[in-house]
Symmetry: C2
Subunit: 269 residues, 2 copies
């Protein structure tokens, strides 16, 4: 095997693995694609594994056995996560984001592919040990973040709808009370979206009292699934007592001072 | 420069470029990261460009000048696009997707990170020449697809909401008539989401009569933007006359036969 084609192989391997994070590629697939023996391929993969590790670009995992193969798990280092969250907190505290009523305009951040892809990798890193098999969110603003998290995990995303839609077939609906405004609302999930016994990771953009998250927990239980974690990008410091017992926020919003145009938001690390 | 570190560099370069499709990286950034001269880096990038081209994994573009650099544009070949769309059509025509009323259950497909990432690259390939600077969609089911398209283009995503939300500040709202059920509805967009003069590419999951797309066109015009294209994943064959003049569907739904459990859906190529 000459040098040039070995280099080309390693570049192509890296691109394919990076494009499909978490997906298991069988060694047979690669060795037939490149026309090389498995021993050669193993050397290639070792070079890729080492280079990714050296530059903190994710972990290449090998799964042995007949159903085995290789996959790229895009874990983020604590350092990279912290610098991302610090940058996000700074961006969110810009004075012109404050909207009358003390809300923060965050849609541009929540719909930014570049930013959400990175936040998704932070959630992967935090929740990898919980071994979820489905990611769940509720429409609308949490969808890109949950989608990016699902991509990093290589898992299906399930989106809970507010109300019930005729085009999704049989649905399970529940009523829930929004924690902050104490209104009764309905959310629903197509029955076929989550199989009984599923391990669900709930991801959302914002948590105040936790009513919406609590509704999703109820809905997951209703279809026979287990909630293995709740991750939110931003949680408010107050109320300190949320309606869900345990959740992982990445940023804590301590206060929005509408009069002086100051927002206090910090990484939760 | 010894061989091992050259290989590691090329692997790391590929991973970083693949993780941020469409993003321009300055050569200075890479040469200081790797501690190599620009001439060495140019050889590395040429090797990456060639390998990606050989395996149809996207195009590495070099932008010269002071503000220049290099970026990976994840274009899909016609062949890869066609095989993806054929696979999607087959998946969508599974008999158990038919829901009473002649609807198709597609949420699992529309929220699949793996599938939508690829469809986003097909839209990039189709609309690259239109040079959009914003991607626009409407909640809810089109969001992952539009988000993946925005990621492939490296552009901001703007999501139109149904109704108007207090947490997004000043909004522009319009009324529109849904083409199929002839109901009057409202959609709105935060005023700051799209600057005047923006070039907007509209992306949605489904088009029947085109009323929703028509509403988005009106909304874009209302904020002073130009619509440079409309891409939909699935368009119905009937009605043949849509409310928008020009749009690009990837799949054509010719009919759902609820009684015989047959769906006729085909790539639009």
């Amino acid at each position: 095997m000459d040098k040039t084609s070995r280099q080309a192989r390693r570049i192509a391997l890296t691109k394919m693995l990076a494009d499909h994070p978490g997906q298991l590629f069988s060694l047979n697939r690669f060795s037939s694609l490149f026309g090389v023996a498995k021993s050669t391929l193993s050397e290639d993969l070792e070079a890729v594994r080492q280079a990714l590790a050296d530059f903190a670009l994710g972990r290449l995992e090998t799964v042995s056995g007949a159903a085995g193969g290789v996959r790229l798990v895009p874990l983020k280092t604590e350092e990279a996560a912290h610098s991302l969250l610090t940058a996000l907190a700074e961006k969110m505290s810009a004075p012109d984001r404050i909207i009358p009523g003390g809300f923060l305009y965050m849609s541009d951040i929540l719909f930014s592919p570049q930013l959400m892809a990175q936040v998704g990798e932070v959630f992967l890193t935090r929740f990898a040990a919980a071994a979820p098999d489905h990611i769940m969110t509720v429409e609308t603003k949490g969808i890109p973040l949950a989608f990016a998290t699902a991509r990093a995990f290589n898992l299906p995303l399930v989106t809970v709808r507010r109300g019930s839609r005729v085009t999704e077939g049989t649905a399970v609906s529940i009523n829930y009370v929004t924690g902050s405004s104490r209104r009764i609302q309905t959310m629903s999930l197509p029955k076929r979206a989550v199989p009984p016994g599923a391990r669900v990771l709930i991801i959302d953009d914002f948590m105040k009292a936790g009513g919406t998250a609590c509704g999703m927990v109820d809905l997951a239980r209703e279809v026979g699934a287990t909630v293995v974690g709740i991750g939110v990008l931003v949680a408010t410091a107050e109320p300190a007592d949320k309606l869900v017992d345990s959740f992982t926020p990445l940023l804590i919003l301590r206060g929005v001072d509408e009069h002086n145009k100051k927002t206090d938001i910090r990484p939760a690390l």
